[in-house]
Amino acid sequence: MTTDVGPGLSGVVAAETRVMWLDPSSGELAYRGVPVDSLANRADFEEVAHLLIAGKGPGDDPKGLADFRRQVRSSRTLPREVVELIRSLEPTTHPTRMLRAGVSAVGCHELTADDDLSGARQWRELRVVGQTAALVGAICRHRAGLRPRQPEPGCSLAEGVLAALNNRPPTADEVRALDLLWVLSAAHGLDPPTFTSMIVASCLADPYYNIVAGLSALRGPKTGGAAEAVLDQLLPLRDPMEAEAWVERTLANGGVIAGFGHHAYRMPDPRVVVLRKEAASMARAHGRRELFEVARTVEVAATSALAPRGVYINVNFYGALLFHLLGADPPLVPCLVAIGRMAGTAALVREALDGIRLYRPLSRYVGPAERRLSSEDAP
């Protein structure tokens, strides 16, 4: 391959994939050839995870899907010591750090020193997706000062996480909304957490190391942390008037509106439309219309100021709002996104392991010319 290498390796092709398709000029996104538009609100997250990981579309393989659901749900039983480890951390620890520790500890239970560490044979995508959901549930309960409780064995991943988040059985609309969020964020190109996992997988590390590494890239302010920042910005704004003034003031001072801008494309993210609609109806159902109006005002004001510069709304803006309406406080948002993204990453890593070479680019040396220690440094 030949390319002009831009900052941040833009323009470089780091993988070939059949898992998804992303058109940077239109923002169009498809999983295994199925447009995401046609999955939103029609397929739940477990179906989409099955599609991404096993390559089977909804309806193509009912028995395989049923097995998949059973396996992914049953993997949510965490070893007691893992739950204890999470609960030994200060409840104020950032949830992404707790999740990383939890995944690492789960890996110690899943693989022994005698297991072959080469990733291909050991990759246990299904279990990892379910285990992550269970860990996030355990983290939610620990943060809220609630006693640990495993999810009901037969419930879906979304039901289990919502029950832990709000300490009550979720409504059907809430379950549908969380599935929608996960479906829309299950895979989106080689974002840093996914790419980090692929680099680590290319060294044939054990799968839990891949995830620990990916989770380390989850929450930087330039990736998943941006979703958290959306809420940090929106929640203190009391009404649309204040929101409008805030946007004006922030931009005049050279500040950043979280939830706007994307390194790869110069148009509104197409996934925003369905998320905005869902956030509006969830806000109505939960008596939070004022919050939605604030968000809508920020969107309109920021768009009119930023669109001429090629900066548009991204998936984090209404995505974070919807996670919040479902019960998440800001620091929990990156972990909730991670559950959905685990499906896409698992599929990409598995694919990558089939034909990958170790990722090892070069650098150009621009430092000091050759020199020697002075003789007085000699022993």
């Binding site: 390796l9 750090r97 022994t112 980090t196 890239a217 650098s363 430092g367 220690l373 000699a378």
Partner: protein, 376 residues
């Protein structure tokens, strides 16, 4: 640097970003055809045996050799972090004893990372604190994991020992001799930095998101733990260990070559000539093996290397650093499954140097993919 340097005009590259020049760096210069490795301008042959790991780390991280007072302050900073958070040490009791030591080490590090203040202090005066904390915590946690593996009680650090000697003391339970410390230190010095190898690249992707240094190092450790990377020194030693003397080594290599076998610890993506780190470490390995009554193993290694290089050298395949470090770690009494750990302690210096170099104005590293239409 990768995030900010001007676009490097059209390049061709292969899978795994082979041959892609991803950006500029002032940290190390590696020439894979001449076989040289320079840190900030100093050839490693000039450093090994003459400077401590602490001095090397200072050079790699901050760009210059420290003067006496800088070195004193840097060593004091490193000593200050020798006691990792108690919760991280206790985490070891919550994972099964039969888990891989690298997975146990990882779990302790993920718990320790919960104790890195947020946001990390990026003031200039904190420049030293962040990498020092990681270097000393990882050494202490790794030593703890090794003691655990051996079923032995943990040992407190000793203030009168430097980084290398203290790690040996805390992991093996005995005070190393001067020769042992010198050999171990040499292995740390020559492995302190190596460009954008997979682990450094993973760390750089993480730091480019604005994450903390501990997160970047955890990603690097992940890459390093893989069989194709840091795990290779363990595999190379296990290969050597099953050979019974030089004659057996030669016969086995000839047979393995006929079967198209690949040899762990041989061949390197960048070096197509002898790896300078191997030549720098061989005298130390020989010294330790001879002194510990393992001369036999030294000659087996030499026969193995000569036989493989004789057959494959023309194709640019030579012993790399992973073939030799085990011959230092074994006589020091480190268990084989822990061999990747000292490599990690050394090379994380380089990862952090790349992260610090990248930080000021780096963009998120986000390459693209080619999407293959699976329906077509």
């Amino acid at each position: 640097m990768i995030g900010s340097s001007p676009i490097i005009a059209e390049q061709s590259y292969g899978r795994g970003l082979e041959d892609l020049v991803a950006g500029d760096t002032a940290i190390s210069d590696i020439d894979g055809s001449k076989g040289w490795l320079h840190y900030r301008g100093y050839p490693i042959e000039d450093l090994v045996g003459r400077v401590s790991f602490e001095e090397t780390a200072y050079l790699v991280l901050f760009g210059e050799m420290p003067d006496a007072s800088q070195l004193e302050d840097w060593c004091a900073e490193l000593r200050q972090w020798r006691d990792p958070p108690q919760a991280a040490l206790e985490a070891l009791q919550r994972v099964p004893a039969n888990a891989h030591p690298l997975a146990q080490f990882r779990t302790m590090m993920t718990v320790a990372a919960c104790h890195i203040p947020e946001p990390e202090n990026t003031e200039l005066d904190a420049q030293w604190r962040r990498p020092a904390r990681i270097l000393s915590w990882t050494a202490a946690l790794a030593a703890r994991a090794i003691r655990h593996l051996e079923g032995a009680d943990p040992l407190p650090p000793r203030d009168n020992l430097g980084y290398a000697a203290n790690f040996l003391h805390q992991s093996t339970g005995r005070t190393p001799s001067t020769d042992e410390t010198t050999a171990f230190e040499a292995s740390l010095v020559v492995q302190a930095e190596h460009g954008l190898h997979a682990a450094a690249f993973a760390a750089l992707v993480v730091i480019s998101t604005g994450a903390d240094l501990g997160s970047a190092v955890l990603a690097g450790m992940g890459a390093l733990s893989g069989a194709r990377h840091g795990g290779a020194n363990q595999l190379a030693f296990e290969m050597l260990e099953q050979l019974d003397g030089p004659d057996d080594a030669r016969a086995w290599v000839r047979d393995a070559l006929a079967r198209g076998h690949r040899f762990p610890g041989f061949g390197h993506r960048v070096y197509k000539c002898p790896d300078p780190r191997v030549r720098a470490l061989e005298p130390y390995a020989e010294g330790l093996l001879v002194a510990s009554g393992n001369e036999h193993m030294w000659h087996t290694y030499l026969a193995l290397r000569e036989e493989i290089e004789g057959a494959l050298g023309a194709k640019g395949i030579f012993a790399n650093v992973d073939s030799i470090t085990g011959l230092i770690y074994h006589p020091l009494g480190l268990p084989v499954s822990a061999f990747p750990i000292p490599f990690c302690l050394a090379i994380e210096t380089g990862w952090m140097a790349h992260c610090l170099e990248y930080l000021p104005d780096g963009k998120v590293i986000a390459p693209g993919a080619v999407y293959i239409d699976s329906t077509a």
